[in-house]
Symmetry: C2
Subunit: 185 residues, 2 copies
Amino acid sequence: MAHKSANYRYLVLGLLAQQPMSGYDIKNLLSNLSWLVSSPSFGSLYPTLHALQRDGLVTMTVVLRENKPPRKVYRITTAGNEALRAWIDQPVAAETSIRTFLMYLITAGACTPTALLTHLQQRRSQVAMRHSALERAASAQDATTGTGQHLIIDYALALAAAELAWLDQALQRLSMTTLPAYEQV
Amino acid sequence: MAHKSANYRYLVLGLLAQQPMSGYDIKNLLSNLSWLVSSPSFGSLYPTLHALQRDGLVTMTVVLRENKPPRKVYRITTAGNEALRAWIDQPVAAETSIRTFLMYLITAGACTPTALLTHLQQRRSQVAMRHSALERAASAQDATTGTGQHLIIDYALALAAAELAWLDQALQRLSMTTLPAYEQV
DNA sequence: CGTATCATGTAACTAGTTACATGATTCA
DNA sequence: TGAATCATGTAACTAGTTACATGATACG
């Protein structure tokens, strides 16, 4: 089943796959991205970390520091990496939101370049479809179309176009580093 | 307090402010935008409509049709419009997500052109700040920066740039229709 | 005759927020 | 002394999903 559920569990696990962090660190990091992915409150972040630890996907060590409160640093385990990989390897759903795609990008460091390439290619074809669907919707507009409807289509079209351009650029760079054989011909 | 909560209540109310619809209609409409705003399941959509009706913000009429199951068409009440207006008129929070902004655009048809103009201007200044913050983050990257981190910053930067361009264009068009006085000088 | 679309709904569960509580340190 | 940042946590609540149930009509 293609993943739709975008819970914080895997987002947190993906961040810990890149480097060990405390709950407070994670919160700060995600706050900077709050306009793209809504960031969790402490009230859900700490319990999430406890659950990951309980399930053996992360371990915790208390780090004592002078003149500052102690921090609980979490790091991913082998089982955690496996669980993350299994989640990542699921196929991309057609309705994948920006939010879910961003979660994927965050965890991208934890997967192989080939897997990343495949994922971005799948994403590209989906965004392209949405883009053309929006273009059709835009040209189908008439006098009865409300201001809201018009603005949304226009806005969505602009974002889709920008993402397409970004994906093309990213794919080009990635294919160069992943498959350098082509350059040597 | 600037709004952060992006619950479906006001999204649904905003859609009904534009035209009367059934729950099924709303679901279809939002499914087309599922990659931007995650669309509600029926399990939350129908209870939301019941709650809105209970609170007197919408009314419901059963429409019988031949050869098709009856539909329950909801339409916004005066109290509903007032509640929506009150929600819309809240100041734009600094961390407003794409999701919340989109909800605003959807309900934009229900507010005055001046209010829309002000809102878009506020949004523009915020996106501009995020954009420059991201540019700083991008130039601060070094060899230790993970692939995930790099991709996210790059992606976010592309989206922010696209939104800025869109906002400038939208603001220009809007100021022409809202304040035609300038053209007559 | 089975499957797809239209159309509504409820119940059990999960995930998340809000609001609170703690306690140290630093800065004005 | 009072506020701000660092750092963790819990309890009560709200919002949401998943999975089910219903029943008609249309299509092949």
